[in-house]
Symmetry: C2
């Protein structure tokens, strides 16, 4: 059995795991994200002696995932203290002489869902997480989307809901998608935590408006075969039918495909890998490294 290592590097915690090429997680631990010295020492100690044959790292960003670039493997311009311009892959290479893949947590999660999850067997899918921030990654033609860098789909501009006066909290763009629809926007708009708001609260209609506008643009630009929605806000399951229905209304029948009409319940879905979507994403990155 081939043993793979997976790191889901988040801004709050690092989840590390050992798993197999079949997507099975054999062991899982987590460490708080403090300084690179402290956190990475724990990460490295965890993997030592485990016999991993490849390592996948899905990270918070922005990062440099472009192989051949001088800063490949770095967390780049993050405002998070201590982690700006940090050479994550360089550090790991000092300790583990195995193939590695480095990408965003959400690109990894999209690959994981396409490998073992809700989009298994498809060669395209989109994974979006709606939580304290909004991020999305995508697989197109079987490969994660790269170009200049990696996608930053959480910051697209959406049309404002006509009754929404909240200014948005994104420090860069104010009222981009993340600024208007991530968890903190709901909390601030209604002055209470999102999870306390009942399912028939106006908050959810506004939230569904923004998420459906985002999905509309993702569908028209990327035409993914599956859209997987994860993250804390999407634990509110009543959001799914609202988002699907609003998406259909916006598309107005323009793109004719069963996935967008009669089969939309199977098109916009929860992560097939559940709460392991992030860690399994990194495991999929490790599998990719192994087969490179």
């Amino acid at each position: 059995m081939t043993i793979l290592g997976a790191i889901e590097a988040g801004g709050t915690k690092f989840v590390c795991g050992i798993g197999t090429e079949e997507g099975e997680v054999l062991e899982r631990v987590s460490f708080p994200t403090t300084t690179p010295e402290e956190t990475m020492a724990q990460v490295i100690a965890f993997f030592e002696g485990k016999g991993i044959e490849a390592l996948g790292v899905g990270s918070f960003g922005p990062i440099d995932p472009i192989e051949g670039s001088p800063t490949y493997g770095y967390i780049t311009t993050t405002p998070k203290p201590h982690w700006g311009q940090y050479n994550m892959i360089g550090k790991l290479k000092e300790h583990f002489n195995v193939p590695m893949t480095f990408d965003t947590d959400v690109n990894g999660a999209a690959l994981g869902e396409a490998t073992w999850g809700a989009a298994q067997g498809l060669d395209s899918c989109l994974y979006i997480t709606v939580g304290t921030g909004i991020g999305a990654g995508a697989v197109v033609g079987g490969k994660m989307v790269h170009g200049l860098s990696h996608p930053e789909m959480g910051h697209i501009i959406v049309r404002r809901h006509p009754e929404d006066t909240y200014e948005g909290f994104c420090p860069y763009h104010g009222d981009c998608l993340e600024g208007l629809a991530a968890g903190p926007a709901i909390n601030k708009r209604w002055e209470q935590p999102a999870y306390e708001l009942p399912a028939d609260h106006k908050a959810w209609e506004i939230e569904a408006h923004y998420l459906a506008h985002a999905l509309m643009n993702y569908v028209l630009i990327l035409t993914p075969q599956k859209i997987v929605m994860g993250g804390g806000v999407m634990k509110q399951e009543h959001l799914f039918p609202m988002v699907r229905s609003k998406l259909q209304e916006l598309l107005a029948g323009y793109v004719q495909h069963p996935a967008l009409q009669s089969e939309i319940d199977q098109y916009v879905v929860s992560p097939g890998l559940g709460d392991n979507a992030g860690l399994c994403g990194s495991l999929a990155l490790a599998k990719l490294a192994l087969n490179k």
Copy 2:
């Protein structure tokens, strides 16, 4: 020398050409788009006896470019009379026993620009045409974007310009990007043809607003290494600096990359293939077919 055939199938005319693997167009003719019987008879007569070894078709849409699909090679739900559910590749296969590639005109143009044009040597780019409609195609990881189907990026939702009261002309979405920013929208908003409006007219600030909003979303979702803007409206060259500058303002430095900062003049550009962008796109599709 390998001889390739190229068809740029447009709603008004079909442009047919003979060319080489180096992107050289040796012969070029065009026929008005009337009925499939009439137009395709002219197309077929043109290619007969020319010794083409592969054929590329870049078509108006929507089409089915997904190989293996039961309707692969069809123009599908177009409202254009006579052309709905037309099996274009099936018809061509009756006459030419050569490998063929079928895609949208704009996906083809993106591939052409990545092969011989402004994005030569890059493995990602976006091509957008702004004319009587708005369409865009993209290359990601060296391949044209497919999934459920092909992109329909001209119909994304953009935030309205605060001073714009024009309702938009898209029969499906009203005020989507195409409805607000294609040539007919400019003509209708100002009640005169776009090309008559002086460069300092308010029309161009509004137009740049919509195009920059679209580019913002394309950049954040696809992260292309080059954006190529063609079509009749983009003949107004004063639009380029306006769009670039507005795009930078919207991004607000969030994505740090020289292409989006100091080198933006080389990032958002005119077609490297000029007025041959469409036909060369189809030639690139033929080259792809040859090498499949």
